[in-house]
Symmetry: C2
């Protein structure tokens, strides 16, 4: 990668950065010199605090503290203390969120918990356009529940709403679509789901940290999400799972490991689930990765999510405005809704040849990504990015498209991970 | 903690250390000054290489490399590359071991995989004295399979062997008992399990890294284990799971996340399991914790496991010899078998008042642990420890017992994590 496109920045753009009330957040992150990083919807950059945090975790807590750190460094309760902090960023009161395991594992728990709350019901409803792991895991859950079927929006009906009825146990829905960037109205959909007596499971992977999620206020039942995208907590950092407190008594999930036990250190022979949110835990958590989560949250938790959301919308709006003409010229479709109420924090452009376009941009220091078979994605973070970066990215995109430079052979070679 | 007991060390003990062919390994670990660390069966100490490794993982790979590191730093294949390296330490040829998730999650996968290989069979056999999470997870699995029952050695019959018959689908067994330190004969038990047509799942938590485990040679079917005890890979570091290659075609498991898909980046709608060991993966793994595993393995993988095992047995044998008299005097039972073929790498002493004994020893820099309701445990590692430490620990134990100093009130206060 080389330095990002050195376009002259218009005064109006510079002005927006100068007036930005969140402009100070940028200094809390390490973004490599000259890079415009638009892949934070895949992996967020490192918050600067991480360097000290990991040093402390490795040298003081593990190497010096050893087993004492389970108590003295609070390792055992990190899943809850960090969970409550993350909960504040997604509108969840304390005691309803834990950090643990992967998104896939938590989807499994959430679907099983949903089924446990609605015994006798026979369908799980999801989106065919869901991030695939959600569907794979739903398949795995359904295979273990003879009589329960998986119905998909986009396959079994055009609209999710048309699949929800008195047979529906659980509706698994992405808050923001990972491909198009479209945002669901959580409160409105919850009303429809609840009117049918079903349970809503929200996948917040692409909204937590950039959308003003209000789980409690919107009446969500269960939610899951990752911490390594817009929450900037590190590669593959542990995921989270939320359950509304009204469901905690009744729900159960089968990954009944010792961390979910009411008395994990009593070493009882039989499983007795914890009465609170810890019942959604299973086994021992990876402490080094978990420790990084504190640094990620600390970088944004002292500002209002509504302000982050407002800036995010201004950024995606500006980018769409700036690339619209070149998309039209080259017959490319902007997949992301123009209505700010309907989009998350990314701009997606449908283009089957998008892979080499992304490679050509990366060579110019503009890092977006491509998702098979035809989606070019640019993720915008209101925390480590300003309007100047938005402008540079748009100008580079226009230039790569208009010059046709992306057609160069060297951009066609694929890596394992796209 | 203060410096460990400063007993004069007999020449015979010093001699054993001087002659120790593994004596050079000690310099690869950070054990806090003056500490005799006998809790490596709970959390191993930090290998020195970890400091650079984490620095590289955080600064170069995450902060500078960002999403490129999924390819350039091999993040995506770490589960396999590290899995194969770990496999060599437990007698598993390449392509049969992956590092992922927690032990509890992997027990769930292994039991489900075992059931998938033996459809129609109706029992899972396990040990009532198993580490509890294995039983909790087994309960969770059984609850999802109507018609399948969990039978326990110690409850339904005295001997595990008496529970194994033509109804048995899976036998879940601890290679080394976490309380007593007793070691099972893996090959012999596999023969009994296979004679009944059942599947053996071995929990290697307390044997991997100190016992010369030979999964392939012993005919094991599935195995799981942790990396944070005798493998010294960090607090809560991801676990491992092994499946013999002969079973990979047929087995399935329900935690069907995208990392287990045959083409994870094709974003197909339906789940198609990978044909190899990756089918036991589920979601994205915590890369920082995963990166630490390389340092843990590197610290012991260039010596022969048979040599580590020989030294381990010499250490536990010496300790038992040295504490035998004081145990007898105070009516305490040595739970660990004296026969070297029958023990792992820990010495356990049954004592309901063991908690304050451990606290009194910790105050002297001798760190063991206590497991409710009545087990004092001392774990011996042949890698970062010499015979001098064994001697000091035994002398301190004898002194604490003989003086009665453990009865002091200040040793009675419990922490969350015991």
């Amino acid at each position: 990668m080389t330095k990002a496109h050195g376009a002259d920045i218009p005064a109006e753009i510079r002005n927006r950065d100068a007036m930005d009330p969140l402009g100070h957040l940028k200094a809390r992150f390490h973004v490599p010199d000259g890079l415009v990083y638009l892949a934070g919807n895949s992996l967020g950059p490192a918050p600067l605090a991480i360097f000290d945090e990991m040093e402390t975790a490795v040298r003081s807590e593990w190497a010096e503290g050893l087993i004492r750190s389970w108590n003295d460094a609070g390792w055992f309760s990190l899943v809850e203390t960090l969970g409550d902090r993350l909960g504040r960023l997604i509108g969840a009161a304390a005691g309803q969120t834990v950090i643990c395991d992967s998104v896939s594992i938590n989807v499994y728990k959430a679907l099983q918990a949903g089924l446990s709350l609605r015994p006798g019901r026979t369908t799980i409803v999801a989106e065919a356009g869901s991030f695939p792991t959600d569907l794979y895991v739903a398949e795995g859950v359904v295979a273990g529940h003879p009589g329960v079927r998986l119905l998909l929006e986009g396959v079994d009906a055009d609209r999710l709403e048309d699949l929800i009825d008195e047979k529906t146990a659980v509706v698994l829905v992405n808050h923001v679509d990972y491909k198009t960037g479209a945002l669901r109205d959580m409160a409105a959909l919850n009303r429809i789901i609840h009117a049918a007596g079903a349970i809503a499971v929200w996948d917040l992977c692409h909204s937590a940290g950039v959308v003003d999620v209000q789980l409690d206020a919107a009446g969500a039942d269960l939610a899951i999400g990752c911490t390594y995208k817009y929450l900037n907590c590190g590669p593959g950092s542990p995921a989270f799972i939320y359950a509304a407190s009204r469901h905690l008594d009744m729900l159960s999930q089968p990954l009944a490991g010792w961390w979910g036990h009411a008395a994990p250190f009593a070493f009882e022979r039989g499983y007795r689930a914890d009465g609170g949110i810890r019942k959604l835990l299973s086994g021992t958590q990876p402490i080094l990765s978990l420790r990084a989560i504190g640094a990620g949250l600390a970088a944004i938790e002292d500002v209002a999510m509504a302000d982050l959301r407002a800036k995010s919308l201004a950024m995606t709006g500006l980018f769409m405005e700036l690339v619209e003409q070149s998309c039209r010229t080259h017959g490319l479709e902007l997949m992301t809704p123009r209505d700010p109420r309907l989009r998350g924090s990314q701009v997606s452009i449908a283009f089957a040849d998008g892979y080499p376009v992304i490679q050509a941009l990366i060579e110019r220091g503009i890092v977006g990504d491509f998702r098979a078979p035809d989606t070019v994605r640019f993720g915008f973070s209101p925390s480590y990015m300003g309007f100047e970066e938005v402008y540079r990215a748009a100008m580079a995109f226009n230039e790569v498209m208009n010059s046709g430079s992306w057609r160069d052979e060297r951009f066609a070679r694929r890596s394992i991970v796209t």
